[in-house]
C-alpha cells in the first residue's frame, strides 16, 4: 500500500486525530494488515506518536501487524456455538491446517481466528471463510469445506 493511498484515506477523514481508529480500519480492510511503513505515514500525517498507534493496533482485535493468509478462517466461539460444540470444530480445524488461532501458515494460505459471536446463532457451530458462512458444522465436515480453498 503506497503513501498516496494512505494520504487519500486520511484526507477522507479530514485529517483529524480522533479519526485515527477509522483510518486504521480502512487501511486494514484494504490491505488486510498494517505494515510498519504505513503506520509511520499515519503517525506523521495525523501528528500522533507511533507508540500510541501501536497501542491501538495491538489493543483492538480487528488489526493485524503481520501479513494475513489468502483465506481467513473464522471459527465462532460465541456462547451459543460453544454449547453446541464449537471447541471440537476448532480443535479439528487446528489439526487440519496445523496452526493455532491468531496464526498464519507459512504458505500464507490460511489465517485462523476465533470470533465471539457472528450473530448467526441458529446455525451454530459456525465457521466463516472469507466472509462466507458455513453453518451447523460437525468436526468431520470441516475437511470437506477447507479443501475447496486453494
Amino acid at each position: 500500500m503506497d503513501n498516496d493511498r494512505i494520504d487519500q484515506i486520511i484526507d477522507k477523514h479530514q485529517g483529524e486525530a480522533s479519526s485515527l481508529i477509522q483510518v486504521l480500519l480502512e487501511i486494514q480492510s484494504e490491505n488486510r494488515w498494517l505494515p510498519k511503513k504505513g503506520l509511520e505515514r499515519v503517525s506523521e500525517k495525523l501528528q500522533v506518536p507511533l507508540t500510541r498507534i501501536l497501542h491501538i493496533a495491538t489493543f483492538y482485535k480487528a488489526f493485524s501487524l503481520v501479513p494475513k493468509g489468502r483465506h481467513e478462517v473464522h471459527i465462532c466461539v460465541g456462547t451459543a456455538c460453544h454449547v453446541r460444540g464449537a471447541t471440537r470444530v476448532l480443535d479439528t480445524v487446528q489439526d487440519l491446517i496445523g496452526i493455532k488461532p491468531g496464526e498464519t501458515d507459512l504458505e500464507l494460505k490460511f489465517s485462523l481466528e476465533t470470533v465471539n459471536c457472528l450473530g448467526c446463532c441458529a446455525l451454530g457451530p459456525v465457521m466463516e471463510i472469507d466472509g462466507k458462512t458455513h453453518g451447523k458444522m460437525a468436526p468431520a465436515e470441516t475437511a470437506d469445506v477447507l479443501k475447496n480453498y486453494e
Binding site: S18, Y60, T79, T87, G119, L123, P139
Partner: protein
C-alpha cells in the same frame, strides 16, 4: 428530493406515499437479515426477480427485502402479502412454485408452511405460529414489514411522526418528563432509568452536549441490537434525535461494531436519506433545532461496550474505562455531558412519545416497564429473537415460544446477561424476567442474551468459558480484573482437565470476592458472576470434577473417553470412515474398537453411530473396559438357508 420543512408537510408527503401504494397489490417480503443471508436469502432474492420476469409479473408484484423477522431457526422466510401466507426455509428451487401457485393462483403451497410440532397442523399465517403468537412485538415488529434501505417504507408505517410531535407540540421539558414518567430503563445492561440519565445531562452547565448510541453489542449469543440496526435503522435515528432535543444536544454518535457490516451499511444509508428529507441537519422540520449524527466503527474490543471505554474509543484512543467519580452524563465524551444509551433503548423512545408514557407503562412489572427483546439461542428448538413484556416467566419464553429443548434432551439451565450474567436452574423457571428479578436470582438482564443449556452442557466448563472470554477481553488496567481473572481461569481450566484440588472452590470464591469489590468498571465487577451462579446452583458438578475426576455432563474432553460397546456394534464402518483421527480399528464384519491413544475426542463417532445401534458411548470417572479378544471381533453372518 426537497427537504420536508414542517410537520404538516410531512403528513402531506406521507399521504402521497400511501396513496401510491395499493394495499392489495401482491408483495413478497423476504427476510434479509445477517442470519438469513447466511442461509441463502441472497440467492432466493435473485431467483424471485428472475422468475417474476420470466412469468411476466415484474410490474404486478413488489419484492421487499426486509430486516430480521426473528425466527432465525427457520430462515430464509418469505411472507406473501397481503394474505400473509408464510413460507419457511426457502431454497431458490422453491421459488417458481411460489410464484405460479401463491402469487398467480392465490393457492397455498402446503409443504413450505410451518408445521406445529405438537399438533402436526400446518399454519398459514406468521402471526398464528406459536413462536410469534406469544410475543408482544412493539419495538421489533416493524422489522418484517419494511425495507431498511427505504425511508419511504418507514414513513409509510408512521415513521418520524414522533419526532414531528416532539418538535412541534412539546417543549424539551415535556419530552424529558414523558420519558421519565414512562420509567424506561436502559436495555444495555445496567438498567439505569433513561429519563434520569437524560435529566443529568440536560441540567449540566456545559453548552456542548452529546448523545450516543451504543451499538457495540459484544455479548456472545446476543444479536438483537444488530437486527434492529439492520432492520429498522430510522427508528433508532428518530429516538436519538428526540433524545437530543430533550437534552439540548446537537451532535450524536453511533458506535457500531465493524463485525456488523450490514448494520453499518444500513445505518449510513438511513443517515444520508434522513438528511436529504430534513429529519437530520439544520432546522429540522422547521423547528429551528439542529442535529447531526456521525457513525464510528468499533475495532473489536468487548470492553468498549462499557460506557466510559466507548467514549474514549470515540475520541480515537484505546478503549479503557475510567473511574466514574463523575458520571459520564455530566462529564463524558471530550469531557462534555453525554447521554449514552443502547440501540434498543433509543428504539423505544419514538413509541413512548407517540403513544404516551401511560400506554408504555401498562406493559411490564412494577420495576421494569415495556417489553424486552431477548436472543434465545443455544440448545433450543426455535432459535431466534423474541420480544415479550417484562415480567413474562422464563418458562413461557423457553417452552411456549422457544419450543423447548431439541432431540428429547432435558433442560438444565438458562444463562442470561451475557458473560457477566449468570445461570438460572430449572427450579427457578417460574421467575418473571425483569431487571430486579434476574439480579435477585444471581444473574442479570444484560443486553438480553438467553443461552439455553441442556443436560449435555457442563456447568464448570460454562464458567470456565466465560472467565476465559473475560480474561481475554479485560483491558488490563486494574489488577483485580487482570490478574484475578487470569488465576480464576487457570484454576477452572485445571478442574475441567481433572487436575482440580481440594480447596480450589474456596480459592475461587476468594478471588471472585476481590474482583467484585475492587475492580474498576462493570466488566471486572461482574466478571465472577458466571462462576458464582454456577457454583450456587450446580455445586455438585464442581465437586464431581474435583473429587471423582468425573464430568457429569460427559462434556469435558480430558475427563471422558469414547467407547464402542462390542455387544451393540454392527461393524457398519460408518464411524470408522468418518473418524478424522483414524483412531478406530476394525473392518467389514469386524467389531470396531477406539484406539484411546489416537482418539482426539472430537465426538464424531458418537454423532454418526446410527441411533438404532447406539453403540458408541461416553465414559467418565471410570476406566475404559479393555478391548475384547481378536477372535471374538468377527461378526458371522447367518447363512442363508
Amino acid at each position: 428530493m426537497s427537504r420536508i420543512n414542517s410537520p404538516a408537510e410531512l403528513e402531506e408527503f406521507r399521504k402521497g406515499i400511501l396513496s401510491k401504494r395499493d394495499p392489495n397489490k401482491p408483495c413478497i417480503t423476504l427476510c434479509s437479515g445477517s442470519a438469513c443471508n447466511a442461509t441463502g436469502s441472497g440467492e432466493v432474492a435473485a431467483r424471485i426477480e428472475e422468475e417474476l420476469q420470466k412469468q411476466g409479473l415484474s410490474d404486478e408484484v413488489d419484492i421487499r427485502r426486509t430486516g430480521c423477522h426473528g425466527f432465525c431457526e427457520r430462515g430464509p422466510i418469505i411472507i406473501n402479502r397481503p394474505e400473509e401466507i408464510s413460507y419457511f426455509q426457502i431454497k431458490p428451487e422453491d421459488v417458481p412454485e411460489i410464484i405460479s401457485e401463491t402469487i398467480k393462483e392465490k393457492k397455498v403451497v402446503e409443504r413450505l408452511l410451518y408445521t406445529d410440532p405438537d399438533t402436526n397442523e400446518k399454519i398459514i399465517h406468521e402471526s398464528e405460529i406459536p413462536f410469534y403468537k406469544h410475543q408482544k412485538r412493539l419495538v421489533f415488529g416493524s422489522n418484517g414489514n419494511i425495507d431498511p434501505k427505504s425511508i419511504d417504507d418507514y414513513l409509510a408505517i408512521d415513521g418520524y411522526s414522533a419526532l414531528a410531535k416532539a418538535l412541534s407540540g412539546m417543549t424539551s421539558e415535556d419530552v424529558l418528563e414523558e420519558v421519565k414518567k414512562s420509567n424506561l430503563r436502559g436495555r444495555g445492561g445496567g438498567g439505569f432509568p433513561a429519563g434520569r440519565k437524560w435529566e443529568g445531562t440536560r441540567n449540566a452547565p456545559d453548552e456542548i452536549k452529546y448523545v450516543i448510541v451504543n451499538a457495540d453489542e459484544g455479548d456472545p449469543g446476543a444479536y438483537m441490537d444488530r437486527s434492529l440496526l439492520e432492520g429498522n435503522p430510522h427508528s433508532i435515528l428518530e429516538g436519538l434525535t428526540i433524545g437530543a432535543y430533550a437534552i439540548g444536544s446537537h451532535e450524536g454518535y453511533i458506535y457500531v461494531r465493524q463485525e456488523y457490516p450490514l448494520a453499518v451499511e444500513n445505518v449510513n444509508i438511513a443517515i444520508k436519506t434522513a438528511e436529504e428529507y430534513g429529519f437530520l441537519g439544520k432546522n429540522i422540520l422547521g423547528s429551528g433545532f439542529d442535529f447531526k449524527v456521525i457513525v464510528h466503527q468499533g475495532a473489536g474490543a468487548f470492553v468498549c461496550g462499557e460506557s466510559t471505554a466507548l467514549m474514549t474509543a470515540l475520541e480515537g484512543r484505546v478503549g479503557e474505562p475510567r473511574p466514574k467519580y463523575i458520571r459520564s452524563n455530566i462529564k463524558g465524551l471530550w469531557d462534555k455531558p453525554s447521554v449514552l444509551n443502547n440501540v434498543e433503548t433509543w428504539a423505544n423512545v419514538p413509541l413512548i412519545i407517540n403513544k404516551g408514557a401511560d400506554w408504555f407503562a401498562q406493559f411490564g412489572t412494577e420495576g421494569s416497564k415495556g417489553t424486552k427483546i431477548f436472543s434465545l439461542v443455544g440448545k433450543i428448538t426455535n432459535t431466534g429473537l423474541v420480544e415479550v413484556p417484562m415480567g413474562t416467566p422464563l418458562k413461557d419464553i423457553i417452552f411456549k415460544i422457544g419450543g423447548g429443548i431439541p432431540n428429547g434432551r432435558k433442560f438444565k439451565a438458562v444463562q442470561t446477561g451475557g458473560p457477566s450474567g449468570g445461570c438460572i436452574p430449572e427450579e427457578l423457571l417460574d421467575l418473571e424476567v425483569g431487571f430486579d428479578e434476574l439480579t435477585k436470582a444471581g444473574s442479570m438482564m444484560g443486553s438480553g442474551g438467553m443461552i439455553v443449556m441442556d443436560e449435555d452442557t457442563c456447568m464448570v466448563d460454562v464458567a470456565r468459558y466465560f472467565i476465559d472470554f473475560l480474561t481475554d477481553e479485560s483491558c488490563g488496567k486494574c489488577v483485580p480484573c487482570r490478574e484475578g481473572l487470569r488465576q480464576m481461569h487457570k484454576i477452572l481450566t485445571n478442574i475441567t482437565k481433572g487436575k482440580g484440588r481440594e480447596g480450589d472452590i474456596e480459592l475461587l470464591e476468594e478471588l471472585a470476592e476481590t474482583a467484585k469489590e475492587a475492580a474498576l468498571c462493570a466488566l471486572g465487577k461482574s466478571a465472577p458472576n458466571p462462576f458464582l451462579s454456577t457454583l450456587r446452583y450446580f455445586r455438585d458438578e464442581y465437586e464431581a470434577h474435583i473429587n471423582e475426576k468425573r464430568c457429569p455432563a460427559l462434556s469435558c474432553k480430558e475427563l471422558i473417553s469414547f467407547y464402542i460397546d462390542p455387544a451393540k456394534c454392527k461393524a457398519c464402518m460408518i464411524c470408522l470412515r468418518k473418524c478424522p483421527a483414524e483412531a478406530i480399528d476394525g473392518g467389514k464384519n469386524k467389531i470396531h474398537i477406539v484406539d484411546q491413544e489416537k482418539c482426539t475426542k472430537c465426538g464424531t463417532c458418537f454423532e454418526v453411530c446410527p441411533p438404532r445401534f447406539g453403540a458408541v458411548t461416553k465414559i467418565s470417572g471410570e476406566p475404559v473396559p479393555s478391548p475384547i479378544p481378536e477372535e471374538e471381533r468377527i461378526i458371522r453372518k447367518r447363512k442363508k438357508k
